[in-house]
Amino acid sequence: MSDLVRISLDAEVCIGVGQCELLEPTVFVLDDDEGISMLVGSAHLVPERAELVVNRCPSGAIRIAEDASPMGLESTQIPDG
């Protein structure tokens, strides 16, 4: 579990392509009203999947959070820009 990394999503940068939801539907969901992606749950992924999602996001809105907090402490739904 400690190997997981936390994902952050910049709501200002996201343009709602939906690539992230396609790759990791348990972490990302496209909000149909806002037209952008949202993080769901604890937003943690194994590093390989996290890197894939970051690299495939065309807008550059998705990042691996620096403060890799341990999984399960609290939800991190708030985009941290």
Partner: protein
């Protein structure tokens, strides 16, 4: 600009493209260190031809602006830019506002809902093509498929598909130097410089969209035209933004995928072994879709304009300089693509820029295009349809789109 480099050869003359993309010229520019300054009109532009440089320009939208000047090679006067501005020619926050209005309709999840309709349309077109033993692939399959699908998504009557393809063809002419329409065609009275591609066909497309918007106001439906009309009514879109949004969705939603489907069929006609390979292993279809799209590169370039002094590939760029990303070149960059001139449907690493180099202007219809091409390939496989050239391709004289006006293909059941 701060320095000039001699252009080895011209890459902008529309007639050059009658013979296909001038790949040798692009290779010469790619191999020149730094950026090459290419003369154009009274000034010029920085030709960005390497994959990595295209990516960098795409991902620095705050420096490489879409809203200054124009996103085509030529500049527009301020009033023309204002009249013609679409989601393509905007920066944040306008771009973000426009994009988010429609983004949800084009996500992978929502595009999947259109797969069955696409399959039905593709099946009918392919069956007709086969019944006739082949013919003009553009007219019979490549043009009708994407226009019918995008019209279904937008909520435009499919019975108007042929008219809207005709308008799209005239718009493409506007990117070359041989427009066929008189200025007052389609009852146009607007000065051409205020119309996208300087074409009276844009007036026709504007008028069509406005009429349809009025119809949807009276009789709202669950479609994009209704969404755009409502957005205009509640103030989130101006009248000009409505017109241009409709225009770009119809045009970009059909012309580009038509080009991909045409170059795909031509590639399978030329490289029959790749078609046999796909039919022998249909699990390669997703890789084949990406290779068809890389091979086709329907949009050859997009321009940005430097908002500030900056540096790229070791070259100083001054505020106001035009910076042109040549996707046609980036998609053949040998430092990224192994044997870039080989059509390889099983290419494993294929980070092509046919949908742009990333950043906020990443193609809105990327997943729609992929779905359409994949469904078409699957239906072709089901029918074991292969091709032989019957009539050579007639190409669009344009440095902007990689269009094919017609190509005769014989249907060969393999």
């Amino acid at each position: 600009m701060s320095s000039t480099t001699a252009t080895p050869t011209d890459i902008t003359s529309p007639s050059l493209y009658l013979h296909g993309i001038p790949h040798e010229r692009f290779a010469a520019i790619r191999e020149t260190p730094g950026l090459v300054w290419h003369r154009y009109g009274n000034s010029g532009f920085w030709a960005v031809t390497r994959h990595g440089d295209v990516k960098e320009v795409s991902k620095r939208p705050e420096v490489f602006s879409s809203a200054i000047g124009h996103t085509n090679l030529w500049d527009l006067e301020a009033d023309a830019l204002k009249a013609r501005r679409s989601i393509i020619d905007t920066d944040a926050p306008d771009h973000t506002r426009l994009r988010r209005l429609v983004s949800k309709a084009f996500t992978p999840r929502n595009i999947r809902r259109w797969e069955d309709i696409t399959r039905t349309i593709a099946s009918g077109l392919l069956d007709d093509f086969i019944d006739q033993g082949g013919g003009d692939w553009v007219k019979l399959v490549a043009a009708p498929l994407p226009i019918q699908v995008i019209l279904s998504i937008l909520g435009v009557p499919i019975s108007d598909a042929e008219f809207l393809v005709e308008l799209s063809n005239h718009l493409v002419e506007g990117t070359g130097d041989q427009p066929s329409l008189s200025a007052d065609a389609y009852g146009n009275k607007t000065p051409l410089r205020l119309l996208p591609f300087g074409s009276p066909a844009s007036h026709a497309l504007y008028s069509y969209g406005e009429r349809l918007g009025s119809l949807r106001r009276d009789d709202p439906r669950d479609d994009i035209v209704t969404l755009l009309a409502r957005s205009q009514d509640n103030g989130s879109l101006s009248a000009a933004e409505f017109r241009n949004f409709f225009h770009v969705l119809v045009f970009a939603g059909n012309e580009t995928t038509r080009t991909a489907i045409t170059h795909g069929a031509m590639a399978f006609a030329e490289f029959g072994d790749q078609w046999d390979r796909l039919m022998a292993d249909p699990s390669l279809v997703e890789a084949a879709v990406e290779e068809v799209i890389r091979w086709a590169t329907p949009v050859l370039h997009m321009r940005r304009t430097a908002a500030t002094d900056t540096e790229l590939a070791g070259t100083q760029i001054a505020a106001g300089d035009k910076v042109v990303m040549w996707y046609a070149s980036a998609n053949r960059d040998p430092s990224v693509f192994e044997e870039p001139f080989t059509f390889d449907i099983a290419r494993v690493d294929n980070p092509h820029f046919a949908f742009g180099g990333g950043g906020p202007h990443f193609c809105l219809g990327a997943f729609l295009a992929r779905m359409e091409v994949q469904v078409l390939l699957e239906e072709m496989m089901k029918r074991r349809l292969g091709f032989r050239f019957a009539q050579p391709a007639v190409r669009t004289p344009s440095n902007f789109v990689h269009g094919v006006l017609s190509v005769g293909l014989e249907a060969v059941i393999r």
